[in-house]
Amino acid sequence: MKSVFSLILLVVLGAGVVFTLSSIPFGSTSSDVGEYYIDSGRADTGATNIVTSVVVGYRAFDTLGEVTVLFVAAIGLGAILAAGRENEEKKKAEWEPASLVLYTGCRFLFPLILLFGAYVFIHGHLTPGGGFQGGAVIASAFLMVYLGCRKKRISRTWARNTESISGLVFVVTGLTGLAVGGHYFLSNFLPEGTLNTLFSAGIIPIIYIAIGLKVGSELTGVIDDLIEESE
């Protein structure tokens, strides 16, 4: 009964959506803003990956917000899990140690994955990729270690400080732009360099590195919190 009613509601909703979509034909949209970005993105920001130039250049403020969202979620998760944990005694579960093959494999792969993650966010302005993707890859390396090596734990202070410093780097870069480069927050005050080289696009790589480290340490922190909870 209830599901039927829900279905009817959704059908009505869908009808409205279809009606509106008829004015946005699929596959042929061209927006002024998008075209502008494609045409002058390289000149404006020095990044060849236009998505990056949008994410860290034109809409860098969004990205600052986005980083904050993740930050909020990580703290929030920590706070919720910590609040409940306070009033129960700690009992350490005995973990079965991982097999040698797994253990060695993980240890072998771990630096490689880290390196890959770093590559992804350092080259964010040149190739598909960026801080978030790189950060997620880095976090996956830690997740693998947690799953494979079991007993290994990261240092929370270390993770927290990385997170904090990289967040600060983002904000301070923005504020520096406010102070020196054209007096706009997050303006690109560094030289743009030559296209398609690593040292180009001004502040974009700096921000992406900060984001990469931040996202990596945040996600690792989240994983750590959840694993601690499961113990």
């Binding site: 829900s6 509601l9 959704l10 009505v12 909703l13 009808a15 409205g16 009606f19």
Partner: protein, 618 residues
């Protein structure tokens, strides 16, 4: 800075200072409160016969807020400060045993100050602001005693707040219609407004002032509130506070709407005037007999207050210069004698340890002679015995009604008969008859209570013998409202329907009294007979059963009480219940299941889309 600004500054500043001083020392605070209220009396007395307007504040969105003084405001302000001062003095002993006295004094003074603000207001915004301050401070005072006072306070504030909201609607309609709130300017705009608008204004203001003035059918809050409030405040409440409604009526009908318009407003049969008169008449008739039913002294006085408000209403609504003078004078009389009665009952309550039940009091005449004398004079005023102020004011009202509307006169007279009955019940059950055993050790009235009683009793008699004193001021009011001037002498009044000359009456009564006194003096000697000789036909009855004042007027009451059910009180309670029931039903939509909540969101969107696709209203 004009006198009015100084007055309000002193009044409101004094409120705060009283509270702060109370934190330091209670005796310092008491002295300060008394001095403050005396100062207010003096300031207002100095403003006698002044008229003027002054803009005192523009901070409220630039709307000029005006204070103005004229004879109407003066007489009200004088009454407020006078009764306020006496009630503060009365409180000195009364409040000694209670806690949180600083709060009480501060609130009492705040009520007085805000009432002065109301009567001095020269624009409706000022009026409304002070009106609301008065409402909530009164609420805090009524609830002060806790227990049953909680319910009383709640009833008061809800009804009063509903009234205020009606008033706010009216005030803002006026503001949007004429772009001004100054009373003197509104009157000009009002004359050209449509009659529908005028009736709307009369209705909303009528509700607001009717609630405060406890006109039937808005009286439901009053009995409980008066009964449960601390007695010094009951005096203020019954004496002046509800008279703010009278002030409001005069202001709305004769100043805002205007005399000429008021007399012709509405249809032939259901004209505003006739409706108000009928409401006034019902307000006299029913509460008078409800008062008879009461066993609680303060409740009895409370119902009597409603009934007397009906007289004032009749006088004011009738709309001739004589009736207007009668109405205003009756307001003055009522203030004096009702405050006096509440104070005497309060003194009894204070000395007997909180007994207000008429069936368990009695015989206090010897213990508290002062209170008895005060009650006697007050009751005489209430009934309208000659040589008291009540006589003069009722005489004016009867005189003005008797030719125009004999029916209303009959109702008013009939009400007076009822008044006699309950007045006798009051004075007899408290002071006459047998003294119950447990009240043997009752002490005499303390000085701080005697003083206001003496002053008020004196005023009752003074205004009764020299009605010209208040009538001179009242005549100015009457003239300023657009009526003809009255012919007034110090001793009385001459009108087309008869004349009143208190000096003749006074002489006649004095002569009569002297004759009686001489006759008694020369004639018989009284032989005191012990009552218990013949009380129970010689049977041995426990002493505390001797009180024969239980179930006063029992047969009469049994006859009339079925007709006196307070349907409006029931009606309001039903509304309150219904609101509670409805609210309880509505909140069930928040079922606690989150799936439903999401459903509401989707439902909202789907409904919008459905409506839009089906009828395309947008």
């Amino acid at each position: 800075m004009t006198g009015m600004e100084i007055l309000l500054l002193v009044a409101f500043g004094g409120v705060m200072l009283t509270y702060i001083l109370g934190r330091i020392s209670s005796s310092l605070r008491n002295t300060f409160a008394v001095v403050l209220s005396l100062v207010l009396v003096v300031i207002i007395a100095l403003m006698y016969d002044k008229t003027g307007e002054t803009i005192f504040y523009r901070g409220f969105f630039g709307i000029p807020m005006v204070l103005r003084i004229n004879s109407l405001s003066w007489i009200f302000a004088m009454t407020i400060s006078f009764i306020g001062c006496l009630s503060v003095i009365f409180s000195l002993d009364y409040m000694k045993v209670k806690e949180r006295t600083s709060f009480f004094y501060a609130m009492l003074l705040l009520v007085n100050s805000s009432m002065m603000g109301i009567v001095l207001a020269g624009d409706l915004l000022t009026l409304f602001i002070f009106w609301e301050i008065m409402s909530w401070s009164t609420f805090l005072l009524i609830s002060y005693n806790g227990g049953p006072a909680i319910a009383a306070g709640m009833k008061y504030i809800v009804m009063s707040f509903a009234g205020s909201m009606a008033m706010l609607a009216g005030i803002i309609s006026i503001f949007t219609a004429f772009g001004t709130l100054q009373i003197s300017e509104i009157a000009a705009g009002m004359s050209s407004a449509s009659s529908g608008f005028k009736i709307f204004i009369v209705i909303v203001f009528g509700i607001a002032f009717g609630v405060k003035n406890a006109i039937w059918p808005f009286h439901a809050w009053l009995p409980q509130a008066h009964a449960e409030a601390p007695s010094p405040f009951s005096a203020v409440l019954s004496g002046v506070l509800i008279k703010m409604g009278v002030f409001g009526f005069i202001l709305t009908m004769y100043v805002v709407v205007g005399l000429g318009t008021y007399m012709s407003l509405g249809g032939a049969i259901f004209s505003v005037r006739s409706i108000l008169l009928v409401m006034g008449a019902i307000t006299i008739l029913v509460p008078t007999f409800v008062a008879l039913l009461q066993d609680d002294a303060k409740k009895l006085l409370a119902w009597s207050t409603i009934a007397q408000a009906g007289y004032i209403m009749l006088g004011i609504a009738y709309g001739t210069s004589l009736s207007m003078a009668g109405g205003v004078l009756h307001f003055l009389s009522h203030v004096v004698f009702k405050s006096l009665l509440f104070m005497t009952v309060g003194a009894v309550e204070f000395r007997t340890g909180g007994i207000r039940d008429l069936n368990s009091l009695g015989g206090l005449i010897k213990k508290m002679p002062f209170a008895f004398t005060g009650t006697l004079i007050g009751v005489c005023g209430l009934i309208g015995v000659p040589l008291t102020n009540g006589f003069v004011s009722k005489w004016l009202i009867y005189k003005s009604l008797i030719f125009g509307s004999p029916l209303l006169t009959f109702v008013a007279l009939f009400g007076t008969w009822g008044t006699v009955l309950y007045s006798y019940k009051l004075i007899h059950n408290i002071f006459l008859g047998q003294l119950p055993e447990k009240l043997k050790d009752v002490e005499n009235t303390p000085l701080s209570m005697k003083l206001p009683m003496i002053i008020l009793s004196f005023t009752v008699l003074l205004f009764g013998i020299l009605p010209g004193l208040p009538l001179r001021v009242i005549n100015k009011i009457v003239v300023s409202l657009g009526f003809d001037s009255l012919n007034i002498s110090l001793w009385g009044i001459v009108s087309e329907s008869g004349m009143l000359n208190m000096i003749n009456l006074f002489a006649a009564i004095l002569a009569g009294l002297i004759a009686v006194w001489l006759f008694l003096r020369i004639g018989a000697r009284t032989i005191p007979v012990k009552q218990d000789d013949n009380y129970a036909a010689g049977a041995a009855v426990p002493r505390d059963r001797y009180n024969y004042t239980v179930k006063f007027y029992d047969p009469l009451l049994r006859m009339i009480s079925p007709y006196l059910r307070d349907i409006f009180d029931t009606f309001y309670m039903k509304i309150a219940d219904l609101t509670g029931y409805l609210s309880n039903g509505i909140r069930k939509i928040y079922t606690g299941y989150v799936g439903n909540y999401v459903m509401y969101i989707v439902l909202f969107i789907s409904l919008m889309i459905f409506v839009q696709m089906k009828w395309s209203p947008w």
